[in-house]
């Protein structure tokens, strides 16, 4: 492998890894705060992609311009899902919890298929299109912008969780729900907030990905599995861990695809999950 190719692989891996991190951050936040795995997280991403698509198709608004709108819309979706479904299963047996978000996943996929057809759709001529060349390394502008967006959003989320009152309360709830309640933090509000923010992160990721990735009802399935690997590698509930793990997973995916063959890249990433479980089940930054 020449240095140029290596560099190209590293850059591509980094760019896609940052996007994985963004998808995983929302998932890990919900895990951390309430110990529920949101199986429908990939579908939040899918909704974000369709929101961008329709903003473009109906109002000619570019996905990048529509990002704040997509984020708000998905925040609302997250809160609504929490208030209508999740709130009722907080104390339910784990099986009911799994089935509820699993059912939600199927429901959202089914609705997307019903209303928007199973076709693959693309957004042509986004504001960000074409390639950038940096020395010998070439990469897509949409991927670059998406990665920048991912860094921005993850950074913003980190700032929110660690530097603002509301965010600290959310983080405290994630660390110790009972202690947080004793300190007067309203658990219900925090849970709804976690769902809102988690969904909004997935929505933004969807908006960013929509500039270069086909949009179809099952698109979330690809990303949710990788996001799950990222969450396990990063350590359940750790936003910082998810960020680092996202980059690692992106690099492994691109490098593995390059060395073994692109058709195996997803299998390689998913195998990483089993390796982490065997070697270090708490992940990079997880609580013991």
């Amino acid at each position: 492998m020449t240095a140029d190719i290596l560099f190209q692989v590293l850059v591509s891996g980094l760019l896609i890894g940052l996007i994985y991190a963004l998808v995983a951050v929302g998932l890990t936040l919900i895990f951390g705060v309430m110990d529920i795995v949101n199986f429908a997280h990939g579908e939040f991403l899918m909704l974000g992609m369709y929101a961008s698509f329709w903003a473009f198709a109906l109002f000619a608004v570019d996905p990048i311009v529509a990002l704040p709108f997509t984020a708000l819309l998905l925040f609302a979706v997250g809160v609504i899902v929490y208030q209508t479904v999740i709130r009722r299963i907080l104390k339910a047996p784990m099986l009911s919890q799994i089935f509820a978000t699993f059912g939600l996943m199927i429901l959202l996929r089914g609705l997307a298929q019903f209303f928007w057809k199973p076709d693959h759709r693309l957004i042509p001529h986004s504001l960000v299109s074409g390639n950038l060349t940096l020395g010998s390394v070439q990469f897509g502008l949409p991927q670059f912008v998406a990665a920048l967006g991912a860094v921005g959003v993850t950074g913003g989320l980190w700032y929110f969780l660690h530097r603002t009152r509301l965010g600290t309360a959310l983080e405290a709830t994630a660390i110790d729900r009972e202690a947080a309640t004793l300190m007067g933090i309203d658990g219900q509000k925090m849970f709804a907030l976690a769902w809102g923010i988690g969904a909004a992160c997935a929505g933004i990721a969807g908006g960013l990905i929509a500039t270069f990735f086909p949009i179809f009802p099952e698109v979330g399935a690809n990303f949710i599995l990788i996001a799950f690997v990222v969450v396990v590698l990063g350590g359940f509930g750790s936003v910082t861990g998810a960020f680092l793990a996202g980059i690692i997973v992106g690099l492994i995916e691109v490098l593995g695809g390059f060395l073994v063959g692109p058709e195996y890249k997803t299998a390689i990433v998913l195998s990483l999950l089993l390796v982490v479980l065997l070697v270090r089940p708490r992940g990079l930054m997880g609580k013991a």
Partner: protein, 340 residues
Amino acid sequence: MSERTIPTPVKAFGALALLALAALLPLVVTEPSQQNFLILILMGAQLGVAWNIVGGYAGQVSLGHAVFYGIGAYTSTMLLLTLGLSPWVGALAGGGVSVLFALAMGWPCFRLKGHYFAMATIAVAEIVQILVTNSEFLEGAVGLSLPMDQSGWGVLIFLSKLPYYYVILGLLVLTVLTAWAIERSHIGYYFRAIKDEPEAARALGVSLTRYKLIALSVSAFLTALGGSFYAQKEMFIDPGSVLAGAISIKIALIAILGGVGTLLGPVLGAAVLITIEEYSRTLFGSTGSGTDMIIYAAMIILVAVFSPSGVLGLLGDLRRFLPGARSKGPDMADKMEIRP
């Protein structure tokens, strides 16, 4: 003892009556497409009952059961195509491979609790699907076809639907009997203990890993048999038809809809689900436009939120009159009740 269920002889009679009814049904339903519909229900029911052993009784939700289904289908088909081995033997071999796979997969994955285990099972199934799709040996995405030139009980290939009906009915009976035997033995008690309070079960000497692996292995074996049956019936398999995530989802849906941890719930679950699927296809075309998915999903969410005992629970006490329903103590479904 004040057990609130029906005496055993009555239930045994009920079970035999139901079986006799099922055996006579194709004599009344003679239209091949309708017989096919009944076969689909029995296939779904068999998979649901098999899934329930690990997902319902032991409470370890697998959303990757297609991997066992696919292993069964591919093993028996490959053995038939390469060695000319009878599918009767091939299916057992598929079951064996499936058990080995379950053990290898369960060992790391059972370190994960609940939700996380479910996610890991999806990942494992996905890996296998990718590997098979890219395997030249298994003809990759092209798929495998069974030879058309022979038929009969030896090769388990038939020209009419009727023999398939009886084969799958027999497999369903075998699967239900296995689940029933587990339910009544110490293993069934241990599964429920692990599902309710794993730490307390350990304190009573129950090895979580051993019994979770038993649950997964038995379930994997029976699911593989279902996969082999599918291959024999359709005479063609490819990753999309026997390894896809959608199959895992469907298997789990059948058991969840019917009532997790009940013996015959999945049979009802399969009847409901397959019926919805067929109707939505008639109404909205071949894909059903996702309407079947929307209906199941809505039902599942409702079941999870309001009536965690499944469709059977929604039908109230009907369950008590089902032959072979749980004989001792409260119904398994009670476990799913939302605690205040």
